[in-house]
């Protein structure tokens, strides 16, 4: 696309000015990149000027660097000190949302701008704080970039650089060389890195990788293939395997959309407890399916398959201990921490058991008695309620966790199990009670199970939100738009920690219900 400029510039030499802006997040090496580009320009007979706004903005905030260059002949060109909307030739965004910000600020225009963006995300605090999913949509930015930029070069330049033991400034510099937006040969870029003198080898490796990634575009970073269904790698004693195959076949025989969830659900449930638990799962699912039909797309069955599995696999001490002691976990962490031959790894777990969790592990009747008795609970608090750092690579701690993780036989007797079963039952009953009058509402109520998560206080807060949402739904259950309200309530509950949004939504409901 070669649209004419919106302002005529009679001085043809003005066309020779190349304007390049860099929008980076603090700590990404934007200053180093700026120096390279400036040195590159000067070494190749260009006049160049760079500016930046550092200050506290460099502490993880967004920072702008700006460079202008022009052939140095006949005088001193007057360069601007800041990028202007509609007047940027090369926009480098070292993070996806910063690419979005550069578009918002008008630095990316279809008539002239080459946008080089790293597709990786460095999440803003506001995205991370949300109890649900607050991650901003990179797809929308990608789509806008395709429209806004004359050329759009995107790849995960952060990953590219990290793989080469370097930082993103080097791989992006490679992408800039590959873009051809600057009138200098590749070797001149490499010379600029060499002239910089620091970490030259790693930077050159990342430069080359960035160059290749830019040439290959986004394809180089293939989207992760969807996880194959649980069938592949199930192994174990023959007796268990036979029974598993039978259960898996039963799940696979369910209607398509349901089976898609039921297979991983079954795997999760069996892994959590045992095959009998898996059978219970499928039995419960069958009861829901008896009320579902193909013409509804099996939405009810599909959500039930997902959330019953999640509800059955509650987070108790046994599960945590089991997970923490598996061989695959140790292998994964060693891989992530790059533990090589000749080095060792120490592993410290951060636990903080509370009275409710301990009493939950008691036999149901006894646990209930203890939980009803404040003095007894205070005693538990005194004994157990403190932070415990366990070195799970040491024998004592490992064996303790190992024993706890092996107590699955005990689990069904515990108070926690009884509580979870009751809650599960009540939730399913509530959902199904809406089924006859309002199918969509029943589906939404099933989805509300998403609100129950976490440990200790977080878990109780989740439960309380769950209860408030279900109470709110009950108020509007007779309305035609009840399902819509249920969805809104659930989404509000996932917006903030204290449920302020949820309270607001419930107030709205009370105003008309």
């Amino acid at each position: 696309m070669n649209a004419p400029l919106s302002h005529k510039t009679p001085d043809a030499r003005l066309q020779g000015i190349i304007k390049l802006a860099i929008l980076a997040v603090g700590g990404q090496g934007g200053g180093v990149l700026t120096n390279w580009i400036e040195d590159l320009a000067r070494a190749n007979g260009y006049a160049a000027q760079a500016t930046s706004v550092a200050g506290v903005a460099q502490r993880t905030g967004a920072t702008v660097y700006y460079i202008e260059m022009a052939p140095a002949a006949g005088g001193v060109p007057i360069f601007s000190l800041m990028p202007a909307a509609g007047d940027v030739d090369v926009m480098i965004a070292a993070e996806m949302m910063e690419a979005g910000r550069s578009i918002m600020r008008g630095f990316v225009t279809p008539d002239r701008t080459t946008l080089i963006a790293s597709t990786h995300r460095s999440l803003a605090v506001s995205e991370k704080m949300v109890p649900g999913n607050g991650i901003a949509s990179a797809d929308e930015v990608m789509a806008a970039a395709e429209i806004a930029a004359r050329r759009f070069i995107a790849a995960n330049f952060d990953q590219v650089a990290v793989k080469q033991g370097s930082v993103i400034s080097a791989s992006i510099f490679g992408a800039l060389a590959a873009s051809g937006a600057l009138p200098f040969p590749r070797s001149a870029f490499e010379d600029a890195i060499r002239a910089g003198g620091k970490g030259v080898e790693a930077s050159l490796r990342a430069f080359n990788a960035g160059f290749d990634a830019a040439v290959n575009g986004v394809q180089s970073e293939a989207a992760p293939a969807p996880k194959p269904m649980a069938k592949a790698a199930v192994s174990g004693p023959a007796r268990l395997k036979t029974e598993w195959d039978r259960l898996a076949a039963r799940a696979a025989a369910l209607p398509g959309p349901v089976a898609e969830m039921a297979l991983p659900g079954l795997e999760k449930v069996v892994d959590f407890q045992d095959l009998a638990y898996g059978t219970e799962y499928l039995d419960r699912l069958d009861k829901v399916l008896a009320q579902d039909r193909a013409e509804n797309g099996w939405a009810l069955g599909r959500e039930a398959a997902k959330y019953i599995a999640n509800a059955l696999c509650y987070d108790d001490i046994i599960r945590v201990a089991d997970r923490k002691t598996r061989a695959a976990r140790f292998a994964r962490i060693k891989g992530e921490m790059k533990v090589k031959d000749g080095t060792l790894m120490q592993l410290t777990e951060y636990f903080h058991p509370q009275a409710a969790e301990i009493s939950g592990m008691m036999p149901a009747a006894m646990g209930a008695r203890w939980q009803a008795d404040p003095a007894k609970m205070a005693r538990l608090t005194r004994w157990f309620d403190k932070g415990r750092r366990l070195r799970s690579d040491s024998l004592t701690a490992y064996v303790m966790l190992y024993v706890l993780g092996g107590m699955k036989g005990w689990r069904r007797k515990t108070l926690r199990h009884q509580q979870e079963q009751t809650h599960l039952h009540r939730w399913l009953e509530t959902a199904l009670s809406y089924r006859a009058a309002n199918y969509d509402l029943a589906v939404e109520v099933l989805r509300c199970r998403r609100l129950v998560k976490g440990y200790s206080d977080t878990h109780s807060r989740g439960l309380s939100k769950f209860d408030r949402v279900l109470d709110g739904i009950a108020l509007v259950a007779n309305r035609a738009d009840a399902a819509d309200w249920a969805r809104r309530l659930r989404e509000a509950a996932l917006k903030d920690e204290d449920g302020t949004d949820l309270d607001g939504a419930i107030q709205t409901i009370r105003s008309f219900a």
């Binding site: 760079a50 000190l81 991983p264 060792l344």
Partner: protein, 715 residues
């Protein structure tokens, strides 16, 4: 200073005649000071002039050779007071700080200086922090120049102009016995370019020599009746002298054709961006040759009336381009024209926005609007009738999140704010005063601790009204930088003297961290030229504060919270001060990273910690994020159809500070966090024991795996 060396920059300062300097604006100023025979330099660090201070601090040898005295002043007031050396002695002195906060702090000293006047050139270099990226209130230094009558230079933002302004600044100061302010905007401080060097020049009268031959003159002391005399002197003697110097030396510049019905009057600092707008309109070429006459005010105060009126001769209208409000320059120029009975129309604010930064777009739009009104014939055809519609670019304002600055990875201040958030969960919301420094980020999400800030070192003083106590105690934050800058006297003696029943937390990270990691009184590093290692707690004892708790590892969130709770609930009356100390992670990493790498290479035993999250144990509630905000703690979308919410994830930038684990423990969040410590070069014995242990653990794992169903690699 700190852990960074500026030796390479110092070499630039040694360049002599015939050599070319290439680098940043602020370093060019530093070089120009030496070329102009400066006798002493002082200041207080802060963006965007920190570099000047940092480089001079490392240039001790060079300064010694020239006989130049350098002081890293305790604050801007101390820096301003230092210019007293130029009152009686013909010594050139320069000080520097961030404006206008620096000018605020220094205003007492500067007002006294300006009243008595100076003999030697006195230059106040102000890094004007206005517009994008600024961390301070948006105000103009200009007002201070006017109220105290100090001349204000605002040179065009290129290195030769800035360097020239330093020399003229000293001469103008001496010619008019008036201190001169040189304001350099933030981008001009960081702008790169070149200039031709001159030889460095030793001061004609070194301070040591002046000290040996003291002078005084009671007429320069700001006391009646002489203070009244000073006031008249300013107007009758110094002002005309300044005007004469400015005109004789052509400090202000004229560009463009002599004859035109319109013209622009602009601050020197606006020059490049105004030219860019004219270039885009086709009214200037690449070298800045313009079709519109420009009167560039490299001296923004005083305004030279005759020079201005001559510029206006034959014009129908002018546009005044003056960034910031109120429009001091425009008002003065309008008055000049009115009193001269002129019919020239003045445009300025109105066409240009009253407030905010004059960005490229603002200037382009405003100048276009002005031309349409005042000289439609000069508007290029494309602007008059654009024949192409700009394409519709999707609105991303609802998508792209804001990204305010926050604590760095591993910052020792993060756990302090996590602890305050936790203690407020127990005891309810408290009145909390913030202060200037990195710790002010604690007032932003996710912590939202602190509701206001009154100035550097003024956190506890900002709670003065609440210090009588009541049902709840107030809490005030202050950094170690703020403590020594001003806090010890203005905040802590204030608390002690008034028997404040309140809590103050001193965030001690061993440096003046936000300004670049300079050493301060309580820094733990050995500094050959500065007195360091003076504990804050001792200073507090010295002024009679009894309840002082020293915390030496802020990452211990549980302890931090317990001490806070004690401070808030103890029946003991009087000030309660918690000194929370842990080294700034940015500086620590800068120092330790190369040492660690070397130790590993040399075969010494080193443990490197990093944190991780068990993603199948994390339930995706993100409670940990609300007590952290650490850049290395992010989210990961799982490839699991059963999971709705992304889980916590720690990337390889983690420095293993421990905040995640400590917070998970203190707030009883979840058991997802673990610390993995890689032991490099372990001893033979250690390796043998580990092997034996791993053997047993491996056997146990295999035993269990053999008795159950195993689903792939899920861990």
């Amino acid at each position: 200073m700190a852990e960074r060396s500026f030796k390479a920059e110092v070499e630039h300062l040694r360049k002599g005649a015939g050599e070319t300097f290439t680098g940043e604006g602020i370093l060019a100023i530093t070089k120009a000071l030496l070329e102009n025979g400066v006798g002493y330099v002082g200041g207080y660090q802060g963006a965007p002039i920190s570099h000047l201070m940092d480089v001079l601090a490392d240039a001790e040898e060079l300064l010694g050779e020239l006989g130049v005295r350098f002081e890293a002043n305790a604050n801007e007031a101390a820096a301003g007071a230092m210019l007293a050396a130029s009152v009686h002695y013909p010594i050139r002195g320069a000080i520097t700080f961030k404006g206008p906060v620096g000018v605020n702090v220094a205003s007492d000293a500067l007002a006294n200086l300006a009243s008595g006047g100076v003999t030697g050139g006195a230059l106040i270099i102000v890094g004007e922090d206005y517009g994008e990226g600024s961390s301070i209130m948006q105000e103009r230094t200009h007002a201070f120049a006017m109220k105290s009558q100090m001349w204000l230079l605002d040179p065009r933002p290129n290195l030769p102009s800035i360097v020239k302004a330093v020399g003229h600044g000293f001469e103008l100061s001496e010619a008019s016995n008036t201190p001169v302010m040189l304001t350099v905007r933030i981008r001009a401080c960081h702008v790169t370019g070149s200039f031709e060097c001159k030889d460095n020049r030793a001061p004609t009268l070194p301070v040591a020599e002046a000290l040996a031959n003291p002078r005084s003159d009671f007429k320069r002391v700001v006391l009646p009746p002489y203070s009244f005399v000073h006031e008249h002197e300013k107007i009758d003697v110094r002002w005309p002298a300044a005007e004469k110097y400015i005109r004789d030396n052509q400090l202000n510049e004229f560009f463009g054709p002599e004859k035109s019905k319109i013209g622009f009057v602009l601050q020197g600092g606006m020059y490049n961006n105004v030219i860019r707008a004219l270039q885009r309109l086709g009214l200037a070429d690449i070298f800045g040759n313009t079709d519109i006459p420009l009167y560039v005010l490299n001296v923004a105060y005083p305004l030279v009336k005759d020079e201005f009126l001559e510029f206006c001769e034959g014009k129908e209208s002018i546009l005044v381009i003056e960034e910031g409000q109120p429009e001091f320059i425009e008002q003065t120029l309008t008055t000049y024209l009115y009193r001269a009975g002129s019919k020239v129309q003045v445009e300025g604010k109105g066409i240009l926005p009253m407030a905010g930064e004059y960005t490229g777009q603002v200037l382009l739009d405003s100048i276009t609007a002005y031309l349409k009104k005042a000289a439609p014939d000069m508007v290029p055809a494309m602007v008059r009738a654009p024949n192409q519609e700009a394409p519709q670019i999707p609105d991303l304002s609802k998508v792209v999140p804001i990204r305010p600055p926050g604590f760095c990875t591993g910052c020792p201040e993060r756990p302090i704010f996590a602890a305050i958030k936790l203690v407020q969960k127990e005891l309810g919301k408290h009145q909390i005063a913030g202060d200037i420094g990195c710790h002010l980020f604690g007032s932003l999400p996710p912590f939202e601790v602190g509701g206001q800030t009154m100035g550097y070192g003024l956190g506890p003083a900002g709670n003065g009204a609440f210090e009588g106590g009541g049902k709840k105690r107030s809490i005030a934050m202050v950094g170690d930088g703020g403590f020594w800058h001003n806090g010890l006297s203005s905040s802590f003696t204030n608390m002690a003297f008034n028997k404040a029943d309140a809590v103050a937390v001193v965030v001690d990270n061993y440096y003046s961290a936000a300004t670049g990691g300079q050493d301060i009184m309580s820094s733990r590093a050995k500094n050959p030229t500065k007195a360091t290692n003076n504990p804050i707690s001792k200073a507090l004892e010295g002024i009679g504060i009894k309840w002082v708790r020293q915390i030496d590892r802020t990452y211990d969130v549980t302890h931090m919270r317990n001490v806070l709770r004690e401070a808030l609930t103890t029946p003991e009356k009087g000030p309660k001060v918690i000194v929370a100390s842990s080294e700034c992670m940015l500086n620590k990493q800068r120092r330790e990273k190369p040492l660690t790498a070397k130790a590993i290479k040399d075969g010494r035993r080193v443990e490197t910690p990093r944190f991780g999250v068990d993603e199948d144990i994390c339930t995706g509630d993100h409670a940990c994020m609300r007590l952290s905000g650490c850049p290395s703690l992010g989210l990961k979308v799982l490839d699991d159809p059963l999971r709705d919410d992304p889980v916590a994830s720690i990337d390889q930038s983690c420095v293993g500070c421990g905040n995640c684990g400590e917070v998970a423990d203190a707030a009883v969040l979840c058991p997802s966090f673990y610390e993995a410590r890689v032991v490099h070069n372990p001893s033979a014995m250690e390796t043998r024991i580990a092997k034996w242990r791993d053997g047993i653990i491996g056997w146990l794992q295999a035993r269990r795996a053999a008795r159950r169903l195993n689903f792939g690699e899920a861990a």
